[in-house]
């Protein structure tokens, strides 16, 4: 079998999946420090030894960016951690982030051969282990740029899609400028995902690396308002533009009482806490208003982050209200598990009807209705149907809605020739080309709410497409000048 792994497959299968080291639930529900510490070297070694080193490594097919998982796990076994992280970096430039936030249980780990009879290899935790090793041992060196190119490319939005596209293009040698509307880079990684899942030092480090590669970062620049895409191309001299502005506009349920004090969108709540550091009020100036009884509506990662954040801010009762059942919850499994440990209540098959307030217009309760599951709907999940006469209310002083987002319309409405689809997403082909020549898009902006890794995949694909596009433009201008002079 393998030169590195002396164990027979049957022996490997006997090793139990290693759990990661974690901050104790009682303690962590009062702080914003990272919950999971990941693997130490010993656990990483044991876990890596579980890999069956399949001749047909299906895990790589399960990875949206096709990381050569078998090789990097083998390198871990050889204790070649630098080599392991290099292997990952060939396909994924943000391993410390993906190791922490990817839904591995739906991707690589879902298809892992070991997982058919036993538990799958903890690929995500292994990825994180080598990425952290690279950080603590200062092993990262910026990639060499072979050819410097004259063309300028504008990247709009500094989420994972924009960051990846910027890094890839600057590797190819282009002059890259990254425009970000907020005062800090990172997109959802900055304002949405909390510190306790993704420490900001990691994000800051990635931003520094991108700058070190020569990418110019301009924050406080809202494309569409400060300058339009057309202006960037016609007046600012950008030859191509990548749009990675995400899906940041929050949905509201549209039920009575959403104007009451104490009702937040998860975006506002998380932005106040994460981007503006409201949890450090009054050392930081941005306030947050949080009661003792908090209901969060939704079942995705955003809802989970909001409810766990509320708990950390001192909510005695933090309830997740979701209209489908546990199985349908789109949140990462690890987060659901952590939330339970932190004492989050799960109110499943429950649909909010209205939010009730007192004479000061402040939330006092949430009226709900029980649901039951019917036939599968468009999404393939069983459709929740109301149970007649099942109305009840829960006493709450804060309601946080985390029921989805859609792209911000500012760019679409100020750019000529951009085709948009359902819920305002920008339509692209499979090479991330939009309907407008020279303009590319990806991430949540074209997918309407997806994942970090898919945003990165799009950013990388777009970088390659932009390169092809700019080379073809260059060729055709050479043709024209030739024919004019000839």
């Amino acid at each position: 079998m393998s030169a590195f792994n002396s164990l027979k497959p049957s022996e490997r299968m006997k090793i139990p999946r290693q759990g990661s080291l974690e901050q104790n639930a009682g303690e962590r529900k009062g702080n914003f420090l990272e919950v999971s510490f990941g693997f130490n070297e010993e656990r990483a070694q044991i876990e890596a030894a579980r890999c069956l080193e399949c001749t047909n490594p299906v895990c790589t097919e399960g990875c949206p960016v096709g990381i050569d998982i078998r090789s990097f796990v083998q390198r871990i076994l050889m204790k070649d951690y630098a080599g392991a992280v290099q292997t990952i970096r060939q396909a994924n430039s943000l391993p410390a982030i993906c190791g922490r936030v990817c839904p591995q249980e739906e991707q690589c780990e879902a298809v892992c051969t070991l997982g058919k009879k036993h538990e799958p290899v903890a690929i995500g935790k292994l990825e994180r282990f080598v990425a952290d090793y690279e950080m603590t041992h200062n092993l990262f060196s910026p990639p060499m740029v072979e050819t410097k190119r004259d063309e300028k490319v504008a990247i709009v939005g500094s989420g994972p899609a924009g960051l990846t596209c910027a890094a890839e293009l600057s590797k190819i040698g282009y002059k890259v400028t990254l425009f970000e509307a907020l005062h800090a880079v990172g997109g959802v990684l900055r304002y949405g995902i909390p510190e306790f899942r993704l420490p900001r030092t990691i994000l800051d480090l990635e931003a520094e690396r991108i700058k070190a590669m020569g990418v110019e970062i301009i924050t406080n620049f809202l494309v569409g308002r400060t300058a339009t895409v057309d202006e960037l191309m016609d007046e600012w001299g950008f030859s191509a533009v990548f749009l990675g502005t995400g899906a940041g506009t929050p949905h509201f349920l549209g039920i009575p009482g959403e104007g009451l004090t104490g009702v937040y969108s998860a975006n506002e709540f998380l932005t106040r806490v994460n981007l503006m550091k409201a949890y450090q009020f009054p050392d930081y100036d941005t306030p947050i208003r949080l009661g003792k009884n908090v209901a969060v509506i939704g079942g995705g990662n955003t809802a989970m982050d909001a409810v766990r954040t509320a708990r950390r801010l001192g909510a005695e009762r933090a309830v997740l209200v979701y209209r489908r059942s546990r199985q349908e919850m789109p949140a990462r499994l690890e987060e659901v598990h952590h939330a339970e440990e932190e004492g989050i209540e799960f109110l499943m098959l429950t649909n909010p009807l209205r939010i009730i307030g007192d004479e000061h217009h402040v939330v006092t309760s949430l009226e709900c209705q029980r649901m039951e599951l019917g036939e599968p709907d468009d999404s393939g999940r069983r459709k929740p149907i109301p149970v007649a006469g099942s109305e009840f209310s829960i006493a709450v002083d804060t309601v946080i809605e985390a029921i989805g987002q859609q792209p911000n319309p500012i760019i679409q409405s100020t750019t000529s020739g951009l085709k948009t689809g359902k819920r305002g997403v920008i339509i692209t082909d499979d090479r991330q080309q939009t309907s407008r020549p020279g303009v590319f898009a990806g991430g949540d902006l074209s997918r309407g709410g997806a994942t970090v890794i898919l945003a990165m995949r799009d950013g990388k694909q777009a970088a390659n497409s932009i390169h092809t596009y700019l080379q073809s433009v260059q060729l055709s201008t050479v043709d024209i000048t030739d024919s004019m002079t000839g």
């Binding site: 005062h183 304002y191 406080n220 932005t271």
Partner: protein, 281 residues
């Protein structure tokens, strides 16, 4: 960083700043605002872009010190910098020639209405302005408003300047005076004032535009914190506004919502005063 080029005190609590912001300056339109952050630990607050100079690359802000952030801002000097300024934000005021318009500014709202009055004047309107404040000191930009108006009436609650009373009194007279032919009203100031103006003009059937000072965070449509109810539907003041049809705005809801953080704001303010006052004393 955005350098303060010029600072001028307009009243004891109201300060005008000219700030270097070269990307924003050429793009500003009447009705636009910016979101600023004074320091790294600061909050993001919206301020109207009162004016701009595209050649010099500067914008003008007029700030009333009412709480921690605005006081901190007003304590900055020429040569200091603001940490962040993003803009121009919001949907610009549609400037049309209505014939004759009334522009009503209350307190620092006069700073917000000034660029709009100027735009309306440049578009050929007769501009009749009413500017008010609690007391004479808080009536600002009288000369600037006079330059872009056919007539300016000032009011103060205490009668220390101009007419004693509130802005709706002279407005009612203007609307009653058919010879003026006022066919649109722009009113910007404290919410109760805008509500009173809207209630008044509704009886006259005169279209009325108000600028809603909802509490904002990002100012780009990303948080929904600035949501307001207009004509029964939810709008985001930072992108759909800040200007809306005053006859359709749910003012009471907004007045309540704007009190969301009163206690916390007071706390932040007290702490700020404790840390700064001893030095000044």
């Amino acid at each position: 960083m955005f350098r303060i080029i010029q600072k001028e005190r307009l009243a004891s609590t109201i300060t005008k700043f000219v700030v270097h912001a070269p990307y924003i300056a050429p793009k500003r339109r009447p009705g636009n605002f910016a979101i600023i952050r004074v320091v790294e630990s600061g909050e993001r607050i919206p301020l109207t872009l009162v004016d701009s100079d595209p050649v010099a690359g500067t914008i003008t802000l007029i700030v009333q010190a009412i709480g921690k952030t605005t006081q901190l801002l007003c304590s900055l000097q020429e040569g200091d910098s603001l940490r962040d300024v993003v803009g121009p934000l919001g949907t610009p005021t549609p400037i049309e020639n209505h014939g004759s318009v009334a522009c009503v500014g209350g307190g620092v709202g006069t700073a917000v209405i000034y660029p709009i009055a100027r735009g309306l004047r440049e578009a050929g309107n007769n501009v009749y302005s009413i500017i008010g404040g609690r007391t004479s000191e808080l009536v600002i930009l009288e000369q600037e408003m006079a330059r872009v108006s056919n007539r300016v009436i000032t009011t103060t609650d205490d009668g220390s300047l101009g007419r004693k009373g509130i802005v709706t009194d002279p407005l009612r007279e203007m609307l009653d005076d058919r010879s003026l032919g006022i066919s649109a009203v722009y009113a910007i100031g404290p919410l109760p004032m805008m509500k009173a103006v809207s209630n008044l003009t509704r009886n006259y059937g005169v279209p009325t535009f108000v600028s809603l000072n909802a509490i904002m965070v990002d100012g780009t449509g990303m948080c929904g914190g600035c949501r307001v109810t207009v004509d029964g539907t939810m709008k985001f003041a930072c992108v759909d506004g800040p200007e809306f049809d005053g006859h359709k705005v749910d003012f009471d809801e907004l007045i309540m919502r704007n009190r969301s953080y009163t206690e916390l704001e007071r706390l932040a303010h007290q702490r700020y005063l404790q840390t700064t006052l001893p030095e000044h004393a």
